[in-house]
């Protein structure tokens, strides 16, 4: 590379600063800004995104102000404009508030559980023998690789009321009768199962990412803290976590975005028709549109969902820009 450096340095007015990438570097290379090339290169991608993501998004917003059902669909009629009627229907419906509360509660609980367990596992990985660490990593890799749908089907089988292994194992406890126990009859138990699926599947990403982050924590810093008399908890709180913070912020934000959009697990576990106690925003929007054929109302729910997430999304983007990788 050093051979390459020499001819690339033009008789520059400024001394050759030892910062090849960065603001000064980019200014010097203003030549690369030229022409229609960047536009031509990005055009196909932008057209595809605009056509199959941008337009549907706008259409979704328009639809949310319209009434569109099977009648209009089959007769190929234009949807009726209904103004804010769909939104009024949502906001005056107590189901909406229950669904939002349920979605938020699930997101908070599942993200917290995934984060705490993931961080615990990451810390644990640094304390175990190498062979144990490899076993942990292999197990997590498999879990991470399992597709969402397959994972959900797997757990359906594990908690099956007649022949599920979980009922059998719990039944073996003295004095407990769990034969033919149905986990989804009681929504609280059902949600425990759904949360378990999500947390189980979410731990590998968090643990492995945070473990990679932990290797970046300078050993000298930890040693200094210990020498100064910090307890293990203090070391974690005052040294490790602050260094991990940027990474923690990103994985937390991503987890919030993913878990808020919970769909697959609920949809599959409830055989495609979730009962009221199992509806979250995404499944509710889907059911309203495709099961009840009320596309306008479904779109309105989807719009509200995106709006509720917007703050978190904006935060994520700000972080990505702040870190500077985007530059």
């Amino acid at each position: 590379m050093s051979v390459v450096d020499t001819p690339s340095a033009p008789p520059a007015p400024q001394p050759p600063a030892p910062a090849p990438a960065g603001r000064t570097g980019s200014k010097r290379r203003s030549a690369t800004s030229g022409g229609f090339a960047p536009l031509a290169l990005t055009l196909p991608a932008l057209l595809l995104l605009a056509g199959l993501l941008g337009y549907p998004l706008i259409r979704m917003i328009v639809l949310s102000f319209q009434s569109l059902g099977l009648r209009q669909l089959f007769a190929d009629l234009a949807p009726d404009n209904v103004g804010f009627a769909n939104y009024a229907k949502i906001f005056t419906n107590s189901t909406f508030y229950e669904v939002v509360a349920r979605t938020v509660a699930f997101t908070v609980v599942s993200v917290l559980l995934t984060l705490v367990l993931g961080l615990g596992v990451a810390l644990l990985m640094r304390r175990v023998a190498p062979s144990v660490r490899i076993a942990m990593i292999i197990a997590m890799m498999f879990v991470w690789a399992v597709p969402q749908l397959v994972a959900t089907q797997t757990f359906r089988w594990l908690v099956d009321s007649d022949f599920g292994v979980l009922n059998y194992l719990i039944d073996r406890l003295p004095g407990v009768d769990f034969a033919n126990h149905s986990w989804f009859a009681d929504p609280i138990q059902g949600w425990a199962v759904i949360t378990t699926i999500v947390v189980w599947a979410g731990i590998p990403f968090i643990a492995i990412t945070l473990n990679a982050g932990l290797t970046q924590v300078p050993k000298e810093l930890l040693e200094a803290a210990v020498v100064d008399g910090a307890s293990a908890w203090q070391v974690l709180r005052s040294v490790t976590l602050p260094i991990l913070k940027p990474l923690l912020v990103i994985v937390t934000t991503l987890s919030v975005i993913w878990n808020f959009g919970l769909f697959t697990q609920v949809y599959v576990v409830r055989n495609g028709r979730p009962e009221d106690e199992y509806q979250v925003l995404a499944t509710w929007a889907y059911s309203t549109a495709f099961k009840n054929n009320n596309y306008g109302l479904g779109s309105a729910i989807a719009v509200v969902t995106v709006l509720l997430l917007l703050g978190v999304m904006a935060f994520y983007m700000r972080q990505m820009f702040k870190i500077g990788d985007v530059d």
């Binding site: 590379m1 390459v4 001819p7 090849p20 800004s33 090339a37 990005t42 991608a45 995104l49 199959l52 337009y55 549907p56 259409r59 979704m60 596992v121 990985m125 304390r127 023998a129 076993a135 197990a139 890799m141 498999f142 879990v143 690789a145 597709p147 397959v150 089907q153 797997t154 007649d162 022949f163 059998y168 189980w200 930890l222 040693e223 210990v226 100064d228 307890s231 293990a232 070391v235 990474l247 990103i250 975005i257 959009g261 769909f263 949809y267 599959v268 995404a282 889907y286 549109a289 596309y295 479904g298 989807a302 969902t305 995106v306 997430l309 994520y316 983007m317 870190i323 500077g324 985007v326």
Partner: protein, 300 residues
């Protein structure tokens, strides 16, 4: 470990360079503690158990599956479940569909995405940040949200129940990540290489063809594998837009459950067949996926 700490503090030997014997808390004995190792092994077992249970079930004959007291190893080892899954209605059709749609989507996204990534990584132009913003943000829109208009749109264009329609949708599904990751790979190639080539008389196209493309090779592989996984795993959209003859294996796995009760043996065998390519591919490129999602958060 904690007990020794205050003692050290009292003596205030801050400046002394730490010797290995001084740092029990940080260094941790090489083998780890018994407690930590036990917890670690237990964790690995609990995590892996569901995966194991799928495999265990898939190789059991039906009577052995349908009993309250399960067998933790198949007593009778059978491949019947795999046979019946493979010969089930639509399995082979959906397998072929999945391969076609997924490879079409990956190739399309790679082609389109690479050009866009090149522009973002190598040019500074008006609207560049806006494009990055778009790429980053569309990744976060819950896809279920635009499913409704997408369905209406494709229906009008006569692209439901077609492999072409769903391939286009999947291209868009994996495009943002493709652009974002490839941008990182291209940026990692020193600009000086481009410039040296340009000064030596190479055209811009030659720079692209002879320098950037070969050096991005591993990145292209990793990105396409991730795209493959995403497209292969998708079932909500394809299940909504297409009938069974135009779906993929994931959607098949869903149908298998809802239509006529659940046959656990074939379902678990089908799950293995469906997940196998993904698991293999995933294990190959795992490292790249993790860094792509959190790009830059760890300053190396």
């Amino acid at each position: 470990m904690v007990a020794t700490a205050p003692q050290t503090a009292v003596r205030k030997r801050r400046r002394r360079p730490a010797r290995e014997s001084d740092t029990p808390t940080v260094g941790r004995s090489r083998g780890g503690t018994v407690l930590a190792n036990t917890v670690g092994v237990l964790f690995a077992i609990v995590m892996f158990f569901p995966v194991y249970w799928v495999i265990n079930t898939a190789f059991k004959p039906a009577p052995e599956i349908l009993q309250f007291e399960p067998t933790f190893f198949p007593h009778t080892f059978t491949l019947d479940n795999f046979k019946s899954a493979f010969n089930a209605p639509f399995f082979q059709q959906d397998l072929l569909n999945g391969v076609l749609v997924t490879s079409g989507a990956v190739l399309g996204a790679l082609l389109v995405g690479f050009l866009a990534a090149l522009a973002i990584a190598r040019f500074r132009f008006y609207g560049r940040k806006a494009i990055i913003l778009v790429v980053l943000s569309v990744q976060m829109v819950p896809f279920v949200a635009i499913l409704i208009p997408l369905f209406l749109m494709l229906q009008k264009a006569d692209l439901t129940n077609s492999l072409l329609g769903i391939t286009l949708v999947y291209i868009v599904l994996i495009l943002p990540y493709t652009v974002w990751t490839l941008r990182g790979f291209i940026q990692a190639i020193p600009r000086e290489l481009d410039e040296a080539a340009l000064i030596d008389g190479a055209s811009r196209f030659q720079v692209f063809w002879k320098i950037i493309l070969p050096l991005t090779g591993p990145g292209l592989v990793a990105t396409s594998v991730y795209g493959f996984i995403q497209a292969w795993n998708e079932f909500i959209i394809i299940n909504t837009l297409n009938d069974q003859a135009h779906q993929n294996l994931m959607a098949w796995l869903l149908q298998n459950q809802t239509s006529r009760g659940t046959f656990w043996g074939p379902l678990m065998a089908g799950s293995i067949l469906t997940a196998l390519p993904v698991v293999i591919f995933f294990l190959i490129v795992q490292r790249n996926i993790a860094t792509g999602l959190t790009a830059g958060a760890v300053k190396g």
